[in-house]
Symmetry: C2
Subunit: 283 residues, 2 copies
């Protein structure tokens, strides 16, 4: 019986980080009012321009579904066009959708995002709700990044609540993520079940890393949200791909600070950030 | 200075329940393989047919975004077409999207779903993440149903964890929802910030109701998931609109059990369920 060999997402990620020497993920958060005026609100042109500008400096892009969905069906078409364009440019695509639902609905979401390399998922609904996503990982070689501890101040409301055994809610979630990702560990030693941990919580990163030794971390919060690459040192292990640092507005709208061509400004900021992250990851 | 008077979602809901004498919400979960063969996979025709069939028996429809998103941009167009059609048929529309994100992303999601009467939202990211949705409620007279305790078995993984003070995580979330909805209470006495509580957890419903005296409850889990209308008696208060009972597959695919015309089968099951719920709500 022939079996189809699928390369795990985590192994593809590790290889991509080694090839590009970059752990930078550029978030695609297109807001019409903030685009370069010459584009006249053309999301496609903006996403293509950013992908071209950062392709030599980033390992992945992270299109944020909300900014596309705000434009209805046209926006969703632009979302997938951006994903396709990025993949053809050699970048991995992490669909930032933060989905989470149950049963056949979770299955439909897993199918909806199987065209990306990985998708972000909300864990509040528990193990059976994430199983369709894990099944897609096993079958298609895709990945999932589960929200563990988010970068916003309000994260404390639920995620930092203290459980009876002394753990916080997000630590319990981290343990679940470790469990969910156990059979998705590739030859790189990393699992294809990753974790979103805010770069804004520098003190928590070593705790999260202890709970999730094999999970690739996706670390948002650098740039506009105030964290700096040096804050995320505790997230890296020796494995390439162990931690991905995500920046969105500070890269894609860099021209608003620096002036000049918007693509050149994004490329320069991506190159600068990638270098800074490289020195942190090696430190 | 002129101010625009906006009718609160909760007041529109209360009026709609009084007018229709129904607390039934019909979930639109279109799966191509399960549609009546004569429709040849036409989601639009299916949704229109179901809306026509249930309009006299339900107070709202709940289109499930995932099943539309699984068809990409075309599916998202069909989602909004179904919403428009349902509203023109006099039904309220609860967009079941379970979104949740932070900052400007949450704002984009709130905008994306402002065209529905209400939207379901995941609370894991905390207060600042839900504020853009609440702001849309205040400005547009829409509502939010926050996931509190979901109907699936895996809900226990995170939601039932016991906090240091003895509460479970979902009870903490319920308290947050009560807080978030405090300034959205309309003249009906209900808040426009509602709660999703699985009908499969009959014993928890009175607990949830005590924590959330003013929240409209959206109760999924009837029918295919095994709960029965009698299980949700503890969710109703004297206020019309206090509890909405949602059924999806058991209504929209009723023809698979009964045979005959799919629209007639859906209408008959919706009428039967609405009557059963009416007797529970009055009990």
């Amino acid at each position: 019986m022939a079996t189809v060999a699928v390369t795990q997402f985590s192994d593809r990620l590790a290889a991509a980080v080694e090839r590009t020497h970059s752990s930078l993920v550029v978030g695609l958060d297109p807001v019409v009012e903030q685009l370069p005026p010459e584009l006249d609100g053309d999301l496609d042109a903006f996403c293509r321009g950013i992908v071209d500008a950062v392709a030599d400096h980033a390992v992945a892009v992270k299109p944020q579904s909300a900014f596309f969905e705000a434009h209805g069906a046209d926006g969703v078409r632009a979302f997938w066009a951006a994903c396709d364009y990025a993949r053809s440019a050699g970048l991995l695509v992490i669909a930032d959708a933060k989905r989470g639902d149950i049963g056949s609905t979770a299955r439909a979401y897993a199918d909806a995002f199987a065209g990306a390399d990985a998708v972000t998922v909300n864990p509040y609904l528990g193990g059976d709700s994430v199983e369709p996503f894990l099944e897609t990982c096993r079958r298609c070689g895709t990945g999932v990044f589960f929200l563990v501890k988010t970068s916003n101040p309000g994260a404390a409301d639920v995620q930092d609540e203290r459980l009876a055994d002394g753990r916080r809610v997000w630590e319990r979630v981290a343990e679940l993520v470790a469990e969910w990702g156990r059979d998705l560990v590739g030859s790189s030693g990393l699992s294809s079940a990753g974790a979103v941990v805010g770069a804004t919580h520098a003190d928590e990163l070593p705790v999260a890393r202890r709970l999730l030794p094999r999970a690739p971390f996706l670390l948002p919060g650098i740039g506009a949200q105030g964290a700096r690459p040096a804050d995320v040192a505790g997230a890296f292990t020796a494995a390439p791909g162990s931690a991905l640092v995500s920046a969105s507005r500070s890269v894609i709208y860099a021209f608003r600070e620096t002036g000049g061509d918007w693509r050149a400004a994004a490329a320069a900021e991506a190159e600068r950030l990638a270098g800074e992250i490289r020195s942190v990851a090696r430190g």
